[in-house]
Amino acid sequence: SQQGEEDPQALSIQEGENATMNCSYKTSINNLQWYRQNSGRGLVHLILIRSNEREKHSGRLRVTLDTSKKSSSLLITASRAADTASYFCAPHPYGNNRLAFGKGNQVVVIP
């Protein structure tokens, strides 16, 4: 399968804690993208990391990519209640025009 597989599938943390979620995939990729989906704002692009990059930051988000292990992680630091959402990794397979969304991680941040 080309789609990403997120782990854990559900995560519950206290506000202010860090949240880490992982994504594994099986094919070579051009890049890997993370998206967030909540009822208020729909599906929103968070960050893109290229296959030749190992780490990328955007605000409170930190993404790592290990192409040798075909895995990525998304870290949200100092979580807020507004971070409650489902987080999807979407590998962009090499030679393919299609993002391969996983089933998502459901994150609940408790105020």
């Binding site: 789609q3 990403g4 051009n30 890049n31 993208q33 729909g42 599906l43 929103v44 692009h45 893109l48 290229r50 999807f88 979407a90 962009h92 025009n97 299609r98 993002l99 969304f101 996983g102 089933k103 998502g104």
Partner: protein
Amino acid sequence: EAGVAQSPRYKIIEKRQSVAFWCNPISGHATLYWYQQILGQGPKLLIQFQNNGVVDDSQLPKDRFSAERLKGVDSTLKIQPAKLEDSAVYLCASSPYPGVEETQYFGPGTRLLVL
């Protein structure tokens, strides 16, 4: 800038009926996507347009689903006849340029329930 617009937001139909969804992408975006998201799963690409041409429709169930983007701007997705398993959220997305580093901008989706 205005986001991707979709209508209707909700639709309830009976099986074997037909239904159509409409999408207006962000102005100037050449690429338009339709996704199907079943509850508890990630979005699955149904069809991708580049301007008014189809780039990828390999996962579109063509016996019942059809889509068009006649003038390279807005698009419609139709299901005829609907089945129970078509119950899902139908997401439209657009991106400003094709390529491997595209960022996709999603609309709010149309939630379809087939009874």
